[in-house]
Symmetry: C2
């Protein structure tokens, strides 16, 4: 059985490095920018609504997020938002793109070890350029064969990925912090999946019940995945 | 020699389908939106400068373009641009994303024929979601093995692509309308390249001199590439 596993896919944001807290910080900064306009709306809820409405067109990543912030600012202020505030929103986005990378605990040793036995890839929904930039800054890029950018992480997108990698689902394992994006679709195709929870999860990624599958695992520390993979 | 060619990469925008004229139209619409502000600046030149300044951070594609339009509107009006105008700029972007696909001449029969003998991929710099959407609308998606999104198309990016595809440069041919992005870097690595000029080329993609290489070809119609590939 062990020999069968060939490719291990890692989610990037909040699995390899910190990401979601930066979005939360940007959202808080956005709420502050909106405060003087006294829009009297639930800003977080309006922003989420805007993002969901744009998802089909813009997809995921920081550029989509900034575009949604600009649109949301215009909407909730009924057009009263100034170009100065919009400039500040663009700056929020730029700040996110410029942030240094903070690798999560255990990432470097775990990735280094696994890369000796398996082909590792990064499978992520963000912008390619942004993820490449993070990867370069991360000091772990040499352990990955390549980065796979996915427009979404539903079952159909993983099917395309496996076709592209030319492997069977049983030869693939996905590791990530989102049950919805990293775990369920992979299990459903017949692959392995290990859930590594992160303390902050975007509302859009939340699900309720756990899957029932012998190919599903959950760890509280990334280093525990070594034992699971060795034991397959 | 013929057996050696294994993968043919096609640029997407302005090689498979019309793209650049839509950017030109959006730029014209943007200039009209700016007109009432009487900024007295060369709007096209300012926009190009903004785009070049953002390229490192935003990369290519429609979302980057819209973000640059918003920033440029604020800059050239000295902050006088209204949120109403910014909304209209966001709408320009949405309109671009919603446009139907217009395949260029010969594309469908040529792609169909080549797909029987070679692995075809799309290698493009745009947004993945946008390119997937175009591909789905195009009726030619089944002839391609997959889409490769590249953050840029310099030699180093093609090296990564070839590594990812696990082929030698001599097993790869690139077909596209940009000398700078589709032809020069591939020739330089040792691959084959066929230039299919398009009537409109973005300033950023323009170059002057032609390469001297027996692996370089230029055609005036896409259908001519069949004869070249058969004759290798």
């Amino acid at each position: 059985m062990k020999k069968r596993l060939r490719v291990i896919g890692f989610d990037a944001d909040d699995t390899l490095w910190i990401n979601e807290p930066y979005y939360r910080e940007a959202e808080e900064a956005f709420e502050k920018l909106m405060k003087p306009y006294k829009a009297g709306k639930n800003i977080a809820a309006e922003l989420y609504r805007t993002e969901m409405g744009n998802l089909k067109w813009y997809g995921y990543g920081i550029k989509s997020f900034i575009l949604s912030l600009v649109q949301c600012a215009i909407d909730i202020t009924g057009g009263r938002v100034t170009s100065g505030t919009i400039s500040e929103i663009l700056q929020l986005g730029r700040h996110m793109l410029e942030r240094p990378i903070e690798l999560l605990e255990d990432v470097r040793p775990v990735i280094e070890k696994l890369s000796k036995q398996y082909r590792l890839i990064v499978a992520t929904k963000g912008d390619l350029l942004d993820q490449e930039r993070k990867m370069e800054k991360s000091s772990i890029s040499s352990f990955f064969h390549h980065i796979e950018i996915m427009s979404d992480k539903q079952e159909t997108h993983y099917s395309l990925l496996l076709h592209h990698l030319e492997i069977d689902p049983s030869e693939f394992m996905m590791i990530g912090n989102s049950m919805r994006s990293d775990i369920f679709p992979v299990l459903s195709l017949g692959g392995y999946a290990i859930h590594v929870p992160f303390h902050t999860t975007w509302m859009h990624e939340e699900v309720e019940a756990d899957p029932v599958s012998s190919r599903f695992f959950r760890v509280s520390r990334l280093s525990e995945i070594i034992g699971i993979i060795d034991g397959l």
